[in-house]
Symmetry: C2
Subunit: 323 residues, 2 copies
């Protein structure tokens, strides 16, 4: 019965920021992501012959909060499919949790797929994507490899809010460097942050009004393997998202000094003819998109920025898989 | 005939960003500023018995660009008041030029007032404010001491676009610390920056839509000597302005890593109960507003931030004066 699943994290090129429904995690806008091959969660689920579930998180008993989140998630499946078995779940990230590196994305994608297997539910990727979404919004994108779009959908019950694969991982051989500035847990969760932004930023309506244009550009840019088109739009979209955060009351500022140092380094590299583009999620770390031909130059330059903890160069990753 | 004028610079608490008329420098929104006592321009004008004007800028012959700007400004008065005399103008800033420290604000205020004196024009402060505005927008606020509002006006010819004093300098004894991170000339002038923002930032309309609320809060906060009200609104307004810059295409980012380090230090100080608030103009330097009781604590903490070049603690400054 025991099944082990590996799911990769994903980084949005067009960001998700703001929910229409807090419980069902239905977003206010579509988003497009790239799945990364080097940051992932491995989750093993097995039937547990006991009266309670057991959750092991990074080789330790999970905290009450994590455990409750995970059990609540398993209950979605137990309730829907009339299952009573308790589970023992061991889950592990190969990178820091809750630091803006999308650990909950790979986490809930891996969990959804492992539950599907251990309960032998035979759910489609679209169904798994919807479940993963309820676990943690952007997790719905980590069911797939390659480049992925999360369609917000129109229905109140979330039945049409799931991700689809735009192109497979071998369609476009591009690199994303994850520049780790700080791997501590962030002060404000994305969930709280986006709620406050939607409620108080005077710039949030313009964020929604202009998202369709960003989505069209990035979708077309991916199909055309047009790095400039994807990159320029990705940066603008990232700066728009952070600007809605900065103008939230009170302000939400996830950037650290080194975040700006890396942004400035990316601009410098571009001036020197080394094509690369940045994006930043709800945390201080920066992700850089570029062609593998420029890999060595970019690594060398980014390493020279002070206060960089680590660099991880990723290729486009695969779908969540049983291993 | 020779007359020497000292004009203080000013820092906006509610910012000016975007022009309705590029030549007449009519703004798209009102702004409110505090005049600072420690950063100023001293300008001496005298009739020059010659066929050309002479301009000495910081003890050197002015560059062609500066000289032409200044002569063009003097011509406004010569044309309007039928004067033919050439002038010799010596002007000096006690702080770096064009680095986001509002050197052109004190510069054109001092120049307007010195021309008024040397030509014996007897113009009112309102008239001088309008002339200073044509020299460099925010200079219209540096005619006055204390706290000042620049009323954008409604007329196309700029006749009702000038500053008025809200309260005199001795009304509210508050401090502003100018934290200098970089005193080099900025890459992009405010003039170019604001033009690009108005044309391309999708957030600019919301900037204008929400300015009235900021103005009301800061105006009332000054009258009530309510530091929290002024400070919270000032920070939000500053972050809104920079967010319109970040979302300009291509993006305009005046911040440096140390800018964020100072922002974070201000937040830390507030958490520790030391009340202080930041604002940032079109450059990397940060200005901090606080009560003099907290002066020593704030100085000590801000000095501990790396990459700080200099700190200048200012009181509320006086109007432009003949000295």
């Amino acid at each position: 019965m025991k099944v082990t699943v590996k799911a990769n994290t994903n980084i949005a090129l067009v960001k998700y920021w703001g929910k229409k429904d807090e419980n069902l995690k239905i977003p206010l806008n579509n988003s497009i992501s790239m799945t990364l091959d080097k940051l992932y969660t491995i989750t093993t689920s097995d039937i547990f012959d006991n009266d309670h579930d057991q959750v092991i998180f990074n080789n330790k008993d999970a905290s009450e909060i994590s455990k409750n989140k995970i059990i609540k998630f398993v209950d979605l499946f137990r309730n829907e499919y009339k299952r009573k078995e308790k589970l023992i779940i061991k889950t592990e990230n190969n990178f820091p949790t809750a630091s803006g590196l999308a650990s909950s994305a790979s986490g809930f994608a891996a969990l959804a797929k492992s539950i599907n297997e251990v309960f032998e539910l035979n759910l489609s990727d679209i169904e798994l994507s919807k479940y993963a979404r309820i676990g943690s919004g952007s997790a719905c994108r980590s069911i797939y490899g390659g480049f992925v779009e999360w369609q917000k959908g129109n229905r109140d019950n979330g039945e049409d809010s799931y991700a689809i694969q735009l192109v497979k991982e071998n369609y476009w051989d591009i690199r994303m460097m994850v520049v780790i500035i700080d791997d501590k847990q962030k002060d404000k969760s994305s969930t709280d942050g986006m709620k406050e932004t939607v409620e108080t930023s005077p710039f949030y309506p313009a964020w929604l009004d202009t998202i369709e244009n960003d989505l069209n550009n990035v979708r077309q840019g991916i199909l055309d393997k047009d790095l400039e088109k994807v990159g320029i739009t990705m940066e603008h979209n990232c700066l728009k998202m952070h600007s809605t955060m900065f103008t939230t009351r009170p302000a939400i500022i996830y950037w650290k000094p080194a975040t700006l140092a890396v942004i400035n380094k990316v601009y410098e590299l571009r001036k020197l003819g080394v094509e690369c583009y940045f994006t930043i999620d709800a945390g201080p770390n920066v992700k850089i998109l570029y062609d593998q031909n420029n890999s060595e130059k970019i690594k060398k330059e980014i390493m020279s920025v002070s206060d960089i903890t680590n660099l991880i160069e990723c290729k486009v990753g695969s779908s969540a898989l049983i291993i």
